[in-house]
Symmetry: C2
Subunit: 338 residues, 2 copies
């Protein structure tokens, strides 16, 4: 039998802290004997929520909390005993295989980088997550860790993203696309054009330029973008989905007749809602680090946070960090020989 | 009575050319006595579709067509008698008040700039369109005319966009937001940060930074972005909307029971679909030019193209170009005095 995967959870992070993280951990541990969860944070607050012993759950005290609006530099300097930092230390020291936090993204990135250090040849962490497409899933990297990414950065995102998808989804040679705009004459900016050349020369399964709508049409497995662009794309998509849900609900609420129609259609609408439920996609990976770090959405509920734990487990099982390190190394070697 | 608005239509542009533009013109002219439409393009092809005289419609022959994939520089050099160029010439020479084209965006931009010239103090044309939000509409500028926009460009987009919205929607002081990402430490790139300062010092109704989801939640009237970012945001949003439509249809097609539910819900779903119908938002304005130029989506159908004609008419009625010129001038004067 496999050794259980040990996951350190930042119990104080996110908009809801222990109120979400502790019950999510209890539900997850109860359903999966393959994990050991370490709740990191204020032991009194955690203990109250836990209300007794639970198999596969331990508590590790940490006296501080990183605020959701706290500057990363402040957190790094003044919160050395924060639940976030201590959870990352557990990974660093080999007491945990992965860390999951719903805390402040900037602080998590800076602290993870400081504690775990970068993989060789990787300049900065990048954020990747899966989004639904009409066929299955598309992974987008970077979602906001980096702005003004150089062609080298974009290339590194592509290499790391492809390996993450290969490891997690089982697609052997994921189709990689570089996010661009469609107007011929002014196609892309300089960095994107140069990254395009690097990718064409690589042995990735590189399809070329893609546009924003290709994220959702199943034509590509990994979409590579600068963090500014990727973040705006993600947030815009969330905004549209929310607006559409609003209009759909509103349409069925008009009058008695539409309400009756809604009643009849309810099971169908529920099945539909499950398909695009953002909670099912919660759990973004910070790639490029010496260790597995998963960022949960700050507002995640129990179901969503549980999903992020599941991604952490899968990432450890598939030995993501080592695979990415090896892959980055190989790609660079290939480029140097070329 | 007002003088009719004369609109030159590039009859050969777009994926469907005369097959869409001519019937759209016939339908529009039949319903609105306030316009005179000039169909520009191959007179034989247009004549066949027209099938006789129509009040408020004239034909203006042009021998060439700009291909949808043709390089703007090529179109500019070799297509001096293209339907697109001739339609723009009619505006330049005062024979038309506005031009509508569903042709190649890059070629339209380059040709419009060459023929009509820029307004004083404006460096480049920018593309703006309205998108639905939960309350009414949000306008986004730029949608792909410019990449690597400087802070000055972003500032010009804001000034032009605010004036367009004031003129077309009647909101006196439109709320302007600057598109950015939410991670505190790395908030924005240099250009965005500097544009933020310019906007704060201006007398626009500037709300500050917004994120991608704010485009659709009604919290702002004008969203300002670099063209690369704006284009990716727009295309991503279209992609999500399309995927959601796909899943919704699929959910109702599962089995006899869900099909029955779909039948009952059909009128509601139709009303809902109308609300987010992208055809209703067809017609983007090229701002910053000495004249009104409206870009229709290349794949627009008759309804969508008719909507673009309506926007052209409204823009002329509200004297957009002059208002923008005056507004840009005033904003620059204010900045120079400051």
């Amino acid at each position: 039998m496999d050794k259980p995967v040990r996951i350190a959870l930042d119990a104080m992070g996110g908009d809801h802290g222990v109120a979400v993280v502790v019950p999510a951990a209890m539900a997850y541990a109860a359903s999966d004997p393959g994990v050991e969860l370490i709740l990191v944070g204020d032991e009194t607050a955690i203990g109250e929520k836990l209300g007794g012993e639970h198999s596969r759950i331990t508590v590790h005290h940490a006296s501080q909390v990183v605020g959701m609006d706290e500057l990363p530099s402040q957190a790094l300097r003044h919160k050395k005993d924060s639940s976030m930092r201590v959870a990352l230390n557990l990974v660093k020291e080999g007491h945990a295989d992965a860390c999951v936090s719903a805390g402040n993204t900037g602080a998590l990135m800076a602290t993870a980088r400081f504690v775990l250090k970068m993989l060789p040849h990787v300049d900065r962490p990048a954020i990747i997550t899966a989004l639904p497409n009409t066929a299955s899933q598309t992974w987008v990297i970077d979602l906001g860790a980096n702005v003004d990414s150089s062609e080298e950065h974009l290339f590194q995102f592509a290499v790391m993203g492809a390996e993450q998808v290969a490891a997690l989804s089982g697609i052997e040679r994921p189709r990689v696309g570089l996010l661009n705009i469609g107007e011929e004459e002014i196609k892309g900016n300089e960095q994107v054009k140069k990254a395009h050349e690097l990718l064409q020369a690589s042995d990735l399964n590189y399809l070329g330029y893609v546009e924003g709508d290709n994220i959702f049409d199943g034509s590509v497995d990994v979409v590579v973008a600068d963090g500014f662009v990727g973040n705006v794309s993600l947030k815009s998509s969330e905004g549209v989905a929310k607006m559409i849900r609003h209009f759909l609900q509103e349409s069925f609420r008009q009058n008695l007749l539409t309400k009756f129609a809604g009643l009849v259609a309810l099971p169908v609408l529920k099945a539909f809602a499950r398909k695009i439920d953002p909670r099912r996609y919660n759990g973004a990976s910070l790639l490029g680090l010496n260790g597995v770090v998963i960022k949960s959405h700050g507002g995640a509920d129990q179901l969503a946070f549980g999903n992020a734990i599941g991604i952490a487990k899968k990432a450890v099982h598939n030995n993501i960090s080592h695979r990415i390190a090896r892959h980055v190394e190989a790609q660079l070697a290939a480029r140097e020989q070329a």
